[in-house]
């Protein structure tokens, strides 16, 4: 088991420019079941062994995808997300960085209406190791197992996952939920799925300064999640009010600091690591040594 994607999940790739084409190939190599690509003007052709269509609607009608991953450049990405969702996929993974926040706010409303889940935008995607990878994560560092990972970051997720894998703690599914102020699914949405997933025994949530998502997650864990959860929050060194690359990482109030988040998580009985190494220790304490 895993959440959201497995080896049968039929995936459509929207945007087959340089990046999209490269990652489509990477995903295919990893074993992702890519059924279609979408790129205006490339309709009728074939890339990496899957058919390409001019529009998401055409692709959906012909190949019935369940999931779509967006590599379309920022100015056109909001439209592409809506195209995918309106074409009927149940999960859209938006890798694209730089989508205006008001556009995202509108997208969230429409996707809720359509009953389509959204991961991202500005996210590395998700991976269920040895089954399917939808996004840009480097497949090699992941290992199949029972740890769920939810992160607001990209490379930090890889760092955490790499150390988990090296220590013998494989992952059921790992998710980069995206660092923008408005994203689709958040910790709580994924936690709910992990709670129901039989393969997942523990969840690691990787947070950062800005917003109060980590606190929302902590309260949710306390009330609704029976599985052990381990936290890690970065950005102690970030000066107040400065952008740290992620638009979401603005310290907008006292609640948004790392200190406030860590205190709140601990208050809700969630152990929090200070370093990546400590995550492994905390996971080990709860799952037992595996290397």
């Amino acid at each position: 088991m895993s959440i959201l994607i497995d080896k049968n999940t039929r995936v459509m790739v929207q945007g087959l420019g340089r990046d999209g084409s490269f990652h489509a190939e990477q995903m295919k190599e990893y074993g992702t079941n890519i059924v279609a690509g979408v790129h205006p003007g490339k309709g009728g052709s074939s890339i990496h062994g899957f058919p390409v269509f001019n529009t998401a609607e055409d692709a959906a009608r012909e190949t019935d995808p369940e999931c779509s991953v967006i590599f379309v450049p920022a100015p056109f990405a909001a439209d592409a997300i809506l195209a995918g969702a309106n074409a009927g996929v149940k999960l859209v993974v938006a890798v694209t960085e730089g989508i205006p926040v008001l556009d995202m706010s509108k997208i969230v409303i429409e996707l809720n209406e359509l009953g389509t889940c959204l991961a991202g935008p500005n996210c590395p995607g998700l991976i269920s190791p040895d089954k399917s990878k939808v996004g840009i994560m480097p497949g090699g560092i992941f290992k199949r197992g029972s740890v769920g990972v939810i992160s607001r970051s990209g490379t930090l997720t890889y760092e955490v996952v790499n150390q988990l894998s090296l220590a013998g703690y494989g992952q059921s599914t790992a998710i980069g939920m995206g660092g923008d102020p408005v994203v689709g699914m958040k910790y709580n949405d994924y936690l709910e799925l992990f709670e129901e997933d039989r393969e997942t025994e523990l969840v690691v949530i990787v947070g950062e300064i800005g917003g109060t998502d980590e606190q929302d997650a902590a309260s949710f864990v306390k009330d609704r999640i029976s599985k052990p959860v381990v936290g890690y929050v970065v950005g102690r060194s970030a000066p107040p009010g400065k952008r740290m690359g992620h638009a979401g990482a603005i310290i907008s109030g006292a609640d948004s600091t790392v200190e406030a988040k860590v205190a709140f998580l601990r208050e809700k009985d969630i152990p929090v690591a200070d370093t990546v190494e400590q995550i492994i220790d905390l996971v080990g304490d709860r799952l037992g040594g595996r290397n």
Binding site: P138, T155, V276
Partner: protein, 381 residues
């Protein structure tokens, strides 16, 4: 992108929000003639992207053009919260009968824009929110529908029982939404929205933060950017695809990915060091990008050691290594360097660095520790 008051007021004016007919000036002489043109009394206001200008002495009410000259002369060049005052706004002074607050920002949790309004304006609204939350009224806005007249009236009638003032305020609220939506703002704020003694409603201050992600829709707004010198450095970095923020420490950091960059800074601090900057070289890094990044780091005279932390995902380790070698060939520097490199094409990357005489580590904490050690030595030499 934060706008200065005079820029925000210009946009407000375009959207029909009543603002004083002020004049932006950059010299004391200009302030004098602005005061003559507007007719005194006038208010001379420092234009900086920081709050608390009044307390810092950056806002002065004057009665004559000569006083305007003197006020301008004293405010120009002032340092307010590390912003140097280079521009002033000369606004006509008005008789205020009441001060209110109206603002719009994105509620990250609700994923919607929300309008806030309070009869307790003219002060630190965050303090009001924290201490007397019942004094702030909220209206969620469905961005597909925009703020509707009935919603604005509902808010406005909570501030005023008088019909004329409530409807005038509701009208300002509608226009403020039009502005927020029209320019893709992250924040628009009127504090205070003033009721004058003649009964009219006017925005006495104006704050706008634009969504950088939306600048592609509003290329003309890019021209409104008035960066401070440190911001200019960050902007230059961004034009090379780098996300850079200068800090006070002595260990220069170069990392791929914002989250990992923050984790790197945290681990440096955790081990007793101080990061000199945040620098995210992003995904799919080209050698050129690494050269620019290296130039940025060594241009900071505080930097005593550089820690390069790369987790190869999309960013390939060999690309970063090649860029680094090219950069070090071009830039002559004595600053000691620690490289930690793992992930995609790590063997290739490590081989390139090794050929150049650099030994790369594989562990982040180990790398951070080594950088702190080298920075300490550099500090002694």
């Amino acid at each position: 992108m934060k706008l200065e008051e005079f820029q925000a007021k210009k946009l407000f004016r375009e959207y029909g929000i009543p603002v004083p007919d002020g004049i932006m000036v950059t010299t004391a002489e200009e302030a004098r003639s602005a005061a003559e043109k507007i007719e005194c009394p006038v208010v001379v206001k420092a234009q900086v992207q920081a709050g608390g200008r009044g307390k810092a002495g950056g806002v002065k009410l004057v009665k004559t053009p000569a006083e305007a000259y003197m006020a301008a002369d004293s405010i120009l060049g002032m340092d307010i919260k590390s912003f140097r005052v280079e521009r002033l706004l000369v606004d006509p002074a008005v008789s205020i009968a009441g001060e209110y607050y109206v603002g719009i920002t994105i509620d990250r949790r609700k994923k919607l824009p929300v309008m806030m309004a309070s009869a307790s304006g003219g002060v630190d609204i965050e303090k009001v929110a924290a201490e007397t939350p019942e004094k702030i009224f909220f209206q969620e806005i469905n961005p597909e529908r925009g703020l509707r007249s009935f919603e604005a009236k509902q808010l406005a009638f909570q501030l005023f029982t008088d019909k004329r003032k409530a409807l005038a305020t509701a009208s300002v609220m509608m226009k403020l939404w039009d502005c927020f939506h029209g320019i893709d703002a992250s924040l628009v704020e009127i504090n205070p929205l003033a009721k004058l003694e003649d009964g009219s409603i006017i925005a006495l201050d104006a704050k706008i933060v634009l969504d950088d992600n939306a600048m592609f829709k509003h290329p003309v707004m890019e021209e409104m950017r008035l960066p401070t010198p440190s911001e200019q450095k960050e902007l230059d970095a961004r034009s090379h695809g780098l996300s850079y923020v200068q800090l006070d420490g002595d260990i220069g950091c170069m990392v791929n990915g914002a989250g990992l960059a923050m984790a790197t800074m945290d681990v440096i601090k955790h081990l007793g060091g101080t990061p000199a900057n945040f620098l995210d070289i992003g995904g799919s890094s080209s050698p050129e990008k690494v050269i620019h990044a290296m130039e940025l780091l060594v241009s900071d005279s505080n930097v005593k050691a550089v820690f390069i932390n790369v987790f190869g995902g999309i960013t390939r380790c060999d690309d970063v290594a090649s860029g680094l070698v090219a950069a070090l060939r071009e830039i002559q520097t004595d600053i000691p360097l620690v490289v930690r490199m793992t992930g995609t094409n790590e063997e290739e990357g490590i081989r390139i660095l090794s050929d150049f005489g650099i030994t790369a580590l594989k562990d982040m904490t180990e790398g951070a520790r080594e950088a702190i050690r080298l920075a300490g030595e550099g500090g002694c030499s």
